[in-house]
Amino acid sequence: MSIHEREQKVLSTFLNHHFSNTTPSPTHLHQYQTMDHVIARIHVSLYLICFLLGMMAAPLAFQTGNDQKLNIFWLLVILLGAHGFNLLFWLATLLFFKNGHVLSTVQTLLIHQVGRFLKWDDGVMNAFIQLRLEGIKGFWFRSRFTHAAWTAYLLGGVLSALFFLMTHQVQFVWQTTLLTQQNFADLTHFISILPSIFGIATPTLADIEWAQFNHASQPDETRQRWAIWLLGCVMVYGVVMRVALWAGSRWRYRQTFHQSLLKLSANTKAFSQERTILDADHVLLEANKHPSYQRDEQSNVRLEVVNQIDSAKHYFLFEWSGPLPKQINAMTQHTFLDDGSTQQAFLQQPIPEQGGSQNILVIASASSPDRGSLRFMKHAVAHCEAIWLFSGEFTEDWVNALLALGITPSKVAELKD
């Protein structure tokens, strides 16, 4: 599913919820899409304004006196200072205030102002803010805009400065009271590290000497080198840096947007089910009619309650999982009938009438009777004196089932703990 399709799906759920589960109208969907276009156009307009401001600001920075001398490093500060300050501010928000409430609140307010001006529904605006701008996505959205705006501004400034330098003759100087020529040489070389990677020539020691404030007019080559170096620094430390940050912010915005859509669309029932009957339940065969499901006069039988047990008898505990009844303990003879072989052995015992031992079969009626247990009971009843039901949830079911097998009520009793 593409990002666009996923967004459409999540948006529908959002709007469904906001408009109280009625189908959102095409107007709402259109407003959402339009909001995207409007914001994009606002951004482009602002970029244009920034470009023009940059074009206007640069010549102001290049204003010289009658001597047509420009202070190189001061010029650099003017051209890149605000940009550098803004960059530090952005880094600080990246590190500490990514989910900054003030900036996010401002952004939300602006979106709402635009939406109200264009008479859009609150639900659509809230959906747009939550899907596109909330949380970390909002930070990268703002970053993307900021870096693009600065790129436009700096580009405007560079172009304007280039045009200015093509049509004016200036001299580039440096002056100081506290520092030395060597300091400026070191500074120039340090600043030139990155621009030199792009092929921009570093001013030589001679150029630095020519640029000293109280020097006479400079050779053309020196002025050219300084001019190219200056413009190169603004390009590298300004434009290129901002372009890189813009590209990074754009990528991160898309990533976080996609991740949040995935998370949001998890609640839009990405799962569906389909059911098929593979083998239907047919009319119940007689053999399989569960005796315990028969509800007739048998259920009114009152069971004898066992109060005392006879330790001379042998107690057979049928498929027993719970704790032993208190009366049946280590002192009484008891055997577990847990599997086919022990059950088969029980069925092979002589019946009581033929001198077999007096067996009592004890059933834990916490478990529901099933066909297997009832099949066994049908045969087992002949080999025991009585069947006791140890109190549980399914006592009545067991009583019904045993009586339906033809077992006389007098043979069935209830054992309470």
């Binding site: 599913m1 940059g54 600001a57 920075a61 003017i78 051209l79 605000a82 803004n86 409430h101 996010s104 609140t105 401002v106 939300t108 307010l109 602006l110 102002q113 809230n126 909330e134 600065w150 501004y153 995935l262 998370k263 998890a266 609640n267 990405a270 799962f271 569906s272 089910q273 389909e274 059911r275 098929t276 009957i277 593979l278 083998d279 239907a280 339940d281 065969l285 053999a287 399989n288 569960h290 498929e319 027993w320 999982s321 847990d338 599997d339 086919g340 072989s341 022990t342 059950q343 478990s367 529901s368 009777p369 099933d370 066909r371 297997g372 099949r375 066994f376 949830e393 399914f394 079911d397």
Partner: protein
Amino acid sequence: MAITLLIVGHANTGKTSLIRTLMRDQGFGCVNNRAGTTRHVEQITLKQNDTPVLHLIDTPGFEDSVGLWQLRQQSPNHALTTSQWLTKVTQEQDLPDHYEQELKILKQLPHCDIILYVIDLRQRPLGKYLNELDLLAGANKPIVPILNFCSDAHNHESAWRQMLAERQLHAHVRYDTVAFYFADERKLYQTLQSLAPDHYDPLQTLIQQRQADAELRLDKAQQALALTLIQSATCQIVCQSKTPSEPEKAAFQQRIRTFEQQFVQQCLTLFQFQQDDVVLDPLAIKDEAWQQDLFDENTLKAWGLNTTTAASAGAAIGAGIDLLTAGLSLGTATALGAMVGASWQTGRSFKSTLMNTLKQRSVLALQATTLMAMMARGQQLIAHLYHRGHASQNAYHTANSNLLWEQATQKQLERLFHKIGQRSEWQELTTLPSHPLAMAMLEEIQKTGGIQKAGKSESR
């Protein structure tokens, strides 16, 4: 192609319940404590974005596996391997009518990829279960034992583990269809991945989606609770006189209860449960007259914040212009923007408080202790629903809970509720505001809720 899992087991071990929990669907099948509830074979296919991911086949339970195994041992069947015998009975269908349900199970064995054998841990490893495993082994398919009811205090887990180990069935999965933990479900799918490597990717996507679902539901539920608490904390009724009348009190209490009911309903919808699953016991509401403290630092700060926010909206544009012109406009635009923004907000805030004071009217609002009780109830409800299996049949009661927080936490919450209570304009909110106080509320709920997200290892 989707993986097919055959769910088998003795009657009443929780096969249908397992499917309900895996599918998050209370409506599937019929669940009853009696044996023989499911009598047909039904396949449920889970689709993700319309692509089948999983086929689960629900079967009737084995009821007479002892008899069936004895039949298998009789002549002439004893000469056949179990596998050959299974093929014979399913093709010729010559089992006695008594084993009609068992035959339905056996007929599905060739059509599955993996057999999930559901075990009720409340039962000992009796002979009938071992016979079932012997029969299923003849299908020559991987068998994954599912240990159900593992949360029950009196279970026979160690005996079962020993028995399963003796049969080389080491890849079993603990699961409780009533008390649900996502970690168990993840382990089940991971076990399936190791047994069916061809289906690794779709199962991996399924695990991730389920995990994301679980975390999102929890987040949404906690946000809903935060909003409910904010609505309740800021809910005020202006009384006609200095003493609230009984109808006014009743109306106020009803409003608060309505907020809570809406929250419960939201949670039920989020976690895909029904109305019957939760019983909302009456909330003990304590209220008192509320007075907006004109000299309260937070009140003033709130208005200051309001003012600043409005100012910064205007100032942002001014500041933007300033930065871009490298300060050449000397901050003029910034100052102008701030002034325009600030004056708008200040007048709005004081008006209602002053009017009520002048007209000698009291205002009903909730005490912090009631709000903390609501918060505790809400957190416990969320925790319960987060771990409630869709096979659970007992309703949960939201009884008034004892606060289990330390004194320091309670004091902190009290301060937070007091601050939030000053924001009377938040009464009508329908979504959680992205304001520091609201975020602080959400953070407290997450911190004191005691729920570990699905992505982290959960403890029972």
